[in-house]
Symmetry: C2
Subunit: 167 residues, 2 copies
Amino acid sequence: MNSIDTQTLDPKLDLTFERIVDTPRELVWKAWTQPQHLKPWFCPLPWRTIDCEIDLRPGGIFRTVMLSPEGKEFPGTGCYLEVVEYERLVWTNALLPGFRPAMMQVDASVDFLFTATIQLAAHGAGTRYTATVRHGDEAACRQHTNMGFYEGWGIALDQLVAYARTM
Amino acid sequence: MNSIDTQTLDPKLDLTFERIVDTPRELVWKAWTQPQHLKPWFCPLPWRTIDCEIDLRPGGIFRTVMLSPEGKEFPGTGCYLEVVEYERLVWTNALLPGFRPAMMQVDASVDFLFTATIQLAAHGAGTRYTATVRHGDEAACRQHTNMGFYEGWGIALDQLVAYARTM
């Protein structure tokens, strides 16, 4: 029952980056899996995450609500697919809680489908952090690139690292 | 990390049936999880299942090819979401292997998205067998009903029970 590995990556469909951070992976895990510790860093300022719901098990809900600087709310709901403590977190917006197939979500924070993986490995006192998003077609992948995947997820990680020092 | 339960069932979106069969659940499991034991019973005759690929782990492939009596092939590819030996098998066609979001599959055996669960419990020497399919909207649920979900999955189960006597 091992998890799927990175051999399924497709450069035309997937986006990925890896960074070494000095945050212990237990804290990175906590920041990703507890709403009160996720909201402070999850989207790049001046956007804010104003709500978050987490049921940390395969099929459990992962819901966030982002607030734009103009005051518009962007909800997003998905479910977890794999939960391996301190190591691996996988979720998708292609399935709703209970693994129900999702219809495209109007007014959601993104209007394409993706599956995201956060992979953590100890690296000295810190963490080797690998984030990957998989898409169903090249259009969705391009759209995610154009909305600033690398910058957005990178800034969020910077915010996580800074926040973790206060945890 | 417990699996999601049946509390997420929605009568407008989901189809389910339960039957007691005299097949031991170890054999039911084998019939659902090994290609050579799935092909003999998986679709109601005179349709046949001419190919099957199974990688039995979350994110692993579940692919079948059905052949109509007229000789037309209907492939379908999805991935497993939960694999709990002898108890619970969950898969979806909303995600491809590696949890990649699926695009609608042209010429596939079905043209709507669903997540299916087979739940098995020992019942005397036999099995309490519960099959459930979840859909994203009422249209998909109606379509699945109209294409004969109850009859089709019921006949397939009869075929499984008959085949299991020869295993």
